[in-house]
Amino acid sequence: MNPPEGPEPGYSRAEWVSLGVSLVILGLLVGVVIFVWLSPVDRPARFEVRQGQTRVEGHSYYVDFTIENKGDQTGERVKVAGFIIVDSGREEASTTFDYVPGRSEEQGVLIFEHEPAGLVIRVISYQIP
């Protein structure tokens, strides 16, 4: 039987390497946290909606859009609506995003029965978390 091979006291080179790699990872994370800390984070939510492509499925028009929150604060239950003027009046479609965090984007689709010419899409409400 060999005597129990207790690793020699102190850190082996392999252990130093993994400590080094770990410190780099932690350093990056802590660096970003400090960066976020120092950058102003109290601008209220501010939304911008960009209309994307339209595709026809059956008798409906599917309009892609991207919503960007340019503020810092998160918007909760963000409601996006679009409307078009048609012969019979106004056609409206809307959708709600659970969360649109600050400085981030989400995507959605609005569906219309008529061809969405002159479509206007905008955010009509949100809650402050």
Binding site: M1, N2, P4, E5, G6, P7, P9, G10, Y11, S12, R13, A14, E15, V17, S18, L19, V21, S22, L23, I25, L26, L29, V30, V32, V33, I34, F35, V36, W37, V41, D72, T74, Y99, P101, G102, R103, S104, E105, E106, P129
Partner: protein
């Protein structure tokens, strides 16, 4: 051969790191499938993130006194702090990769929320890494003699078809049980449907691969409860890779059964959707199954 492997510091370091990874996933996976933890990542500010990283590190240092992730020689506080930093880094990497794989973490979230998600999810993963030496008690220090004995015993057992069948049944039963224990708490949750809606086919394949790799690591690489015991238990699932794949299939079947039991999704969904749900629940279930196989 075994002794050269053990005396190689690089090998034993890899072993330690993989043990930490195993512990992190075992403890962290139920909270990976919890939307409230994802949402918490959307709401935390920098102060909160810094505090939770600090508290996690403090917790790891305390846990390291009794457990830790390395096979301990003697306790020294300086080593303990360095080990805890490594454990925290392992937790952060595991948490970020798995959040990415299940489609929760993506670049559109913005820097602050990405970091928020990672720091929140790193807490449970870190605790798991910090107690992995207890979750994952190694018995690798046995001499060469024992492994030779084991090899002979194994050969003998392989010759008898009954021993083989018995071993297989024990393995499958243990995998199924472990999969149920971890999967039961997750199966009725909406998270399964949410993750399914976010993952592409490529994401599904990645999830399958991750499930296989993590359960392989847990059972065969991290010298869990008793790796030597595992080698004794020789079923039809012979080769480690074959065994991992077969056990994964058992975990998938258990997942499908649990999804049906809780009616997580309606029966009117397409079979493809059901396949996706099964693969998604199969990730935690296969990790539970891997832990279950070690218990036998």
């Amino acid at each position: 051969m075994a002794s050269t492997k053990e005396s190689n510091p690089w090998y034993s370091e890899l072993d330690d790191i993989l043990r930490a990874v195993s512990g992190a996933f075992l403890f962290g996976i139920p909270l990976l499938y919890t939307m409230e933890v994802w949402w918490a990542g959307n709401q935390v500010n920098a102060l909160h993130m810094a505090l939770s990283l600090g508290v996690s590190l403090f917790l790891l240092i305390i846990l390291d006194y009794g457990a830790g992730f390395r096979k301990k020689k003697e306790y020294r506080w300086a080593i303990s702090i360095m080990d805890s930093l490594v454990a925290l880094a392992v937790a952060i990497v595991c948490a970020s990769l798995s959040l990415m794989i299940i489609g929760v973490l993506h670049i559109d979230l913005g820097l602050e929320n990405i970091i928020g998600h990672i720091t929140m999810e790193a807490i449970p993963f870190g605790i798991g890494a910090g107690i992995s030496d207890h979750l994952v008690e190694g018995q690798k220090t046995e001499g060469v003699d024992t492994s030779q004995q084991l090899a002979e015993k194994k050969k003998e057992e392989d010759r008898t078809a009954r021993g083989k069948l018995h071993g297989t049944l024990v393995d499958m039963g243990a995998t199924g049980l472990g999969a149920v224990i971890i999967g039961f708490a997750i199966a009725p949750a909406d998270e399964i449907l949410i993750i399914a809606s976010r993952l592409s086919s490529l994401g599904m394949l990645l999830l399958i691969l991750t499930s296989l790799v993590i359960s392989y690591i847990i059972v065969f690489e991290a010298s869990f409860v008793s790796e030597s015991k595992r080698m004794e238990q020789r079923g039809i699932f012979q080769h480690p890779v074959v065994e991992t794949i077969n056990s994964y299939l058992v975990a998938l079947m258990v997942s499908l059964f649990m999804l049906w039991l809780f009616q997580t999704a309606g029966m009117d969904r397409s079979w493809l959707e059901w396949l996706n749900y099964t693969i998604i629940l199969g990730f935690p279930a296969s990790i539970g199954g891997a832990a279950g196989r070690l218990a036998v």
